[in-house]
Amino acid sequence: MAGIFVLVGHIEGQVGKPSLELLTLARRLGTPIAVCSGSAPEALGQYGAERVHVIESEDIGAHPIGWVQALAELAADTPPDAVLTEATPHGREIAARLAVRLGGGVLTDAVDVQPGPDGPVVTQWAFAAGFTVTARVARGVPIIAVKPNAVVPTPAPVEPAVTRARLVPDEASLRTRVVSRSVRESTGRPGLTEADIVVSGGRGLAGPENFALIENLADALGGAVGASRAAVDAGWYPHTHQVGQTGVAVSPQLYLAVGISGAIQHRAGMQTSKTIVAINKDGEAPIFDLADYGVVGDLFQVVPRLLDEIARRRA
């Protein structure tokens, strides 16, 4: 059974939304074959995985190269028509190495994937999302790293056939040692790349203590918290929340920029958001050129009032 390999991430059976998006896309292209470690979460069948291939290995969790070996072994057995991964650093590394190992071609940062006469047709945004690119893999197995929010995950229940294989990592797979790994405490908020709503703070917040305003607004809207590079460089918020060219690129339904001027590096990471709202005291700030709705004013006045107004409307 040739199919579409989908690399699935799950934490103790909780399948991430990006993985469900990959399964939804895979159904357009062929027969989804979910590849995961540990157990076979129920959600995979609910989202159309006809087969679930479980890799049994203690070493595979943290480091990408074990996955490369596992996928290459599976491909030797069942050559896939395409491989889908998430466009995270982890997913990209797997895609890149797998492409060399299988002689495939890689396309990254897909925002849409459609079937085509010559294989999957991938849409990407390039050059700070200033250009729309359609591309395909002309030689070898198409390996596609897909951005979160490329599609709305939709269920299509099937009863998957579950296969299991023990991975014996080869020597090359073990050469990078994970010396330590400290998992960050969960904030309870949605992940930045997969959130439908992102509220970001910048230099206008004037200090780390004021990020509480951003967190409160994010919580009121059920969103994730982002930060501009200026705020991160100042040490006001962790780098893992940086939205922009060298941070995380987001594409939510709503992006709310608070006290962010909108430098090009920041815009590169958020300008594909469906709706953009800006609050900034400088009416000339470039962020207003992108904003569907802008409030020119003091964020320390506007944000607390907005929180009150949201609470009042919900009451």
């Binding site: 590394e93 070898g140 090359a172 790994r181 060298t246 409030v295 506007v302 907005l306």
Partner: protein, 259 residues
């Protein structure tokens, strides 16, 4: 110890990108420069030299004739030599072909440590470091925010999506660094003058034994069928806050069903 820093000549991000008839990025007819993110990798190599002066640093690039400018810039920051792989047959190469050629050059240069940036500022796929590691069977330690080399072991720290990690590997190894790792030095006048006298070799595909039919547009594994400029976002409504700004914004969010 030998370090090779892989660098790329990219279109100046401040200028409008242009594309060839084959839908690849035009690097020959637009102003270009050393990719800014590569400067962070060069800097880390130079810090190793600062601590261990017997370290030898070579900057390596694959690109059109103008790409030599990127190497001169890297040499002006520091380092000892540069290698430019340039060949007409390379035009239109994708990430796979670029990695193939860089890997062939690295086999000749036999570094203990390969340093790369996290990504280029043009294609931005972040694929090449991992592809190089695969070709050369090197351990890879990517997206480093700190790096140290000691007694044949390289260690990095990195901020993964869910965790902070420390990775280690015996040399030889490949490390890619982010722009969080420490600001690159600015080339001094002395550095710029000294760079002019440093060795800059140009190698062809024949020198590396890479068949021309494995690279370039004709061998590309990925093809772009179409590139279109996205229409600029039209600015929407902006209100001056006169005490009612939050109310107006809440109205807007409510009509869009966000609240």
């Amino acid at each position: 110890m030998k370090i090779v820093v892989c660098v790329k000549y990219v279109p100046d991000p401040a200028s409008q990108p242009r594309f060839t008839a084959g839908h690849t990025v035009d690097r020959e007819n637009v102003p270009g420069r050393l990719s800014e993110l590569d400067e962070y990798a060069v800097e880390q190599a130079l810090r190793v030299v600062d601590a261990a002066p017997d370290t030898h640093v070579t900057h390596l690039t694959v690109g059109p004739p103008q790409a030599a400018e990127a190497l001169r810039r890297a040499l002006a920051m520091g380092g000892h030599a540069a290698v430019h792989v340039s060949d007409d047959a390379l035009a239109g190469s994708d990430a796979s072909a670029t990695a193939l050629v860089l890997a062939a050059a690295l086999r000749r240069l036999t570094p203990d440590l390969v340093l790369c940036a996290m990504a280029s500022t043009d294609g931005g796929t972040a694929l090449v470091p991992a592809m190089l590691a695969e070709h050369l069977e090197l351990p890879q330690l990517t997206f480093a925010t700190e790096v140290s080399v000691d007694a044949g072991t390289v260690r990095v720290r990195r901020e993964a999506v869910q965790a902070t990690e420390e990775l280690a590997a015996e040399l030889p190894a490949l490390v890619s660094v982010t722009d969080r790792i420490g600001d690159p030095r600015y080339p001094s006048f002395k550095g710029i003058m000294a760079a002019k006298k440093k060795s800059l070799q140009t190698w062809t595909l024949a020198d590396l034994g890479v068949p021309a039919d494995q690279v370039g547009a004709g061998a590309a594994r990925t093809v772009v069928d179409e590139i279109t400029a996205r229409p600029p976002r039209a600015a929407g409504t902006a209100v001056q806050d006169d005490g009612e700004g939050a109310w107006h914004l809440a109205e807007f969010l409510a009509t869009k069903k966000f609240i």
